[in-house]
């Protein structure tokens, strides 16, 4: 918690004959993060990259085939529901017996489908070429085969008169008009010029015989027939997906594991007879893996725990309680924490829903979003999607709680007075009550900002100690404290001169010197000390001082964005109910009924829009407050992702 999981660095050296056993054992445990071996150019230590285990290429080519079939059938292993887990031995047997037949069947179907698709295209193309000729009542054979005449066929803007002896047919029944002109060869050029002047575009005569209309119909029918055949093949493929999806994803998983195992030595260093590999294992699994390795190889292995030299080389594995785990997604979106620094996931997991609820505090919207997040679980099955939905459901519960406190549901007041501060705006004729307590809410938001930023700076001080060394660490710590001093000094100064509701009133303290009272003097001292503290690390940072004000005030969005969402909800209610539905209910007329229906539509549409806006506003602004205002105070990030060698078996079992 609050720290990535502790890691230990392990060096494994063993004879090459044990490679397979060791790789298998490591893969089974699924905790060993391999540090890839990179040969140093020109070094003479005799180490080189290992070779893949036997069977690697076979497994890889089989895997490619399986993946091809999966994509042809539209199977995505990420989204396949786990129904039964097939034992690995059975999958292996089925790969020998059943798989070739399935591959053959699918490949055959896909091949004939693409052949049919090509045919269908061909027929459609032919039909398209024939279309203009349908307008001309003449068989297609009559267009060609003349030695003394030239035939012009094509689109033209308008009918033309031709001076030379000719035969002509013009039709405006088709798109772009159609003209056919037959002239003796000696007049060919002048006729062509006349036609081109009228915007003539030549169309080649299709290479067919018979009446164009009949041919067109024949092609269209053929295309339709082929479409039916394609649909039948698609049905067959869907049937295969239905029957074999479980088996195919199991094959995929098994072979992926095989390939990964077989290719692992590519990440090891080898000598003539031995191989060595370095990697990371979480502390809690360390001894167990060591013992298992010794047992599996019968002691033919050398294991040594190495010192951790640079903490930034350590892979980072989150270590959070289960309710905070979905929030890790927010961290990865920004940047994974470094090994040495504090992991703020837990704080994000707690504070994010509170911010979200503060902004979108509405029982109605909260309930809608909760239902949405639960409903979408069936659709979104990927890991990231799941995490997002979990965060959303926690946030919407918080939204419901705040809705109860604010006494709000879809912008209507609930039958009790707000338990917290009121956000009810005076919109519409029926406005009652004292209106929203904007100033109070704003000050609460500012208070949250002050505390959140103070927390951030305190963590920053702690991180400075663990991230840097020697003088730099001290300087960075003092700088962080300097920022704190500056902020609180400024606050004391403000409080010493202006009484602000819900904040300490320090105007009444005894005056010490120059009209400054005790609080003001303390404030000035803190302020100056803060500036010195910041400047001793980097004088340029002093330029950043005003950000302290903008960052604190930025938390006012917790109130402001929320109020705008309340305003939209209330306006929607007022327009739809107050202006359209209620007046009509008094005396129902046919026009009134239509107006009522329109009113209901406006109501639904407005609230759907506002739910989407609330989700976007609430989510984006809450996470932004973390990313911009909170994380910039302490967070470094850029940790390496912990990527254990192994796989979590979903569809197969050992």
């Amino acid at each position: 918690m609050l720290r990535p999981e502790r890691m230990r660095r392990l060096l494994i050296v063993a004879p090459k004959s044990e490679t397979d056993t060791i790789v298998r054992e490591l893969y089974r445990h699924n905790v060993y993060h391999i540090e890839d071996f990179v040969p140093e150019s020109g070094s003479s230590d005799g180490l080189s990259i290992g070779h893949p285990l036997s069977g690697a290429s076979d497994a890889a080519s089989a895997l490619i085939k399986i993946r091809a079939i999966e994509s042809a059938c539209g199977i995505d292993p990420e989204n396949v529901e786990v129904r039964t887990r097939i034992p690995a031995s059975k999958v292996r047997a089925m790969i020998q017996t059943d798989l070739p037949a399935i591959i053959e069947e699918v490949e055959g179907l896909v091949a004939s489908r693409s052949r049919l698709e090509a045919q269908q295209k061909e027929h459609e193309q032919r039909a398209k070429e024939l279309e203009p000729f349908v307008a001309v009542p003449m068989d297609l054979d009559l267009y060609r085969g003349y030695t003394r005449f030239s035939v012009f066929t094509g689109h033209i803007a308008h009918d033309v008169t031709i001076d030379a002896p000719h035969e002509k047919y013009f039709s405006d029944k088709v798109d772009g008009n159609m003209i056919v002109v037959v002239v003796p060869n000696e007049h060919r050029e002048e006729v062509e010029r006349t036609l081109l002047d009228a915007g003539f575009q030549a169309i080649p005569v299709p290479d067919e015989t018979g009446a164009p209309a009949d041919r067109l119909k024949a092609h269209q029918e053929e295309a339709r027939r082929i479409e039916g055949e394609i649909a039948a093949i698609n049905g067959k493929i869907a049937g295969i997906r239905e029957r074999h999806a479980d088996f195919l994803v199991a094959c995929d998983e098994l072979l992926t594991a095989d390939v990964e195992r077989a290719e692992a030595p590519l990440r090891f260093a080898t000598t003539e007879e031995t191989f060595l590999t370095e990697g990371w294992i979480p502390e809690r699994n360390f001894e167990k893996v060591k013992e298992a390795l010794v047992r599996a190889t019968g002691g033919k292995i050398y294991l040594e725990e190495l010192e951790i030299e640079h903490t930034d080389a350590v892979p980072v594995k989150y270590d959070n309680p289960s309710f905070a785990r979905p929030s890790q997604m927010f961290m990865d979106l920004y940047s994974r924490p470094q090994y040495a620094e504090l992991d703020p996931t837990l704080m994000v997991a707690i504070v994010f829903p509170i911010f979200f609820g503060m902004i979108l505090g509405d029982v109605g919207y909260g309930a809608v979003l909760l239902a949405l997040s639960l409903g979408l679980r069936k659709v979104l099955k990927s890991e990231g999607g799941r995490a997002l939905l979990k965060v959303l459901s926690i946030s919407s519960i918080s939204s419901i709680i705040f809705g109860v406190l604010y006494s709000e549901a879809f912008g209507f007041a609930l039958p009790w007075e707000p338990l917290f501060f009121s956000r009810h705006l005076n919109i519409g004729g029926a406005a009652t009550g004292h209106g929203p307590q904007v100033v109070e809410l704003m000050i609460i938001a500012i208070w949250i900002g002050i505390l959140h930023i103070t927390l951030g700076r305190l963590i920053g001080t702690r991180n400075a100690r663990s991230l840097y060394h020697g003088k730099h660490a001290t300087k960075a710590m003092i700088s962080n404290l300097g920022w704190l001093g500056f902020m609180w000094g400024l606050l004391l100064l403000i409080w010493a001169f202006f009484p602000i509701p819900m904040m300490p009133d320090l105007t009444g303290l005894p005056v010490v010197a120059m009209g400054f009272n005790l609080a003001a003097v303390t404030g000035v001292v803190l302020l100056v000390a803060g500036i010195i503290g910041i400047a001793q690390e980097n004088p340029l940072e002093v330029v950043e001082l005003p950000t302290i004000i903008s960052h604190v005030l930025s938390y006012a969005r917790l109130t402001a964005v929320g109020l705008s969402s309340v305003a939209i909800a209330m306006v929607v209610n007022y327009i739809s109910i107050g202006m359209m539905i209620e007046p009509q209910l008094e005396a129902i007329t046919p026009v009134g009924v239509i107006l009522i229906i329109v009113g209901i539509l406006v109501f639904l549409l407005g609230h759907v829009l506002n739910t989407a806006l609330g989700l976007l506003g609430g989510g984006l602004h809450s996470i932004r407050l973390h990313y911009v205002e909170f994380f910039t105070k302490f967070y470094k990030g850029g940790g390496k992702k912990y990527n254990p060698f192994g796989m979590k078996l979903k569809f197969t079992e050992e």
Binding site: D332, L333, S335, R557, L563, R624, Y627
Partner: protein
Amino acid sequence: MVDVGTTLEMVQASQVGLKAVGAGLAVGLTGVGTGLAEMGIGAAAVGATAENRDMFGLALLFTVIPETIVIFGLVVALLLLF
């Protein structure tokens, strides 16, 4: 100047009206400002994300930084109105 008979009520009403105008200007103009600022950042951020999917978090962060401007406008508007 002809005295058109400004009564106390009219003065009060126009004060309220001008406040509302001020609040509207505060939100509207800051909104334009935020939009202008986010225009360039957003385009660059989408480009960067298209190149490298991992940039998304940082890109989003950069894009929403100018949001603060319009929030200040909203805060000012709310303080004006209430």
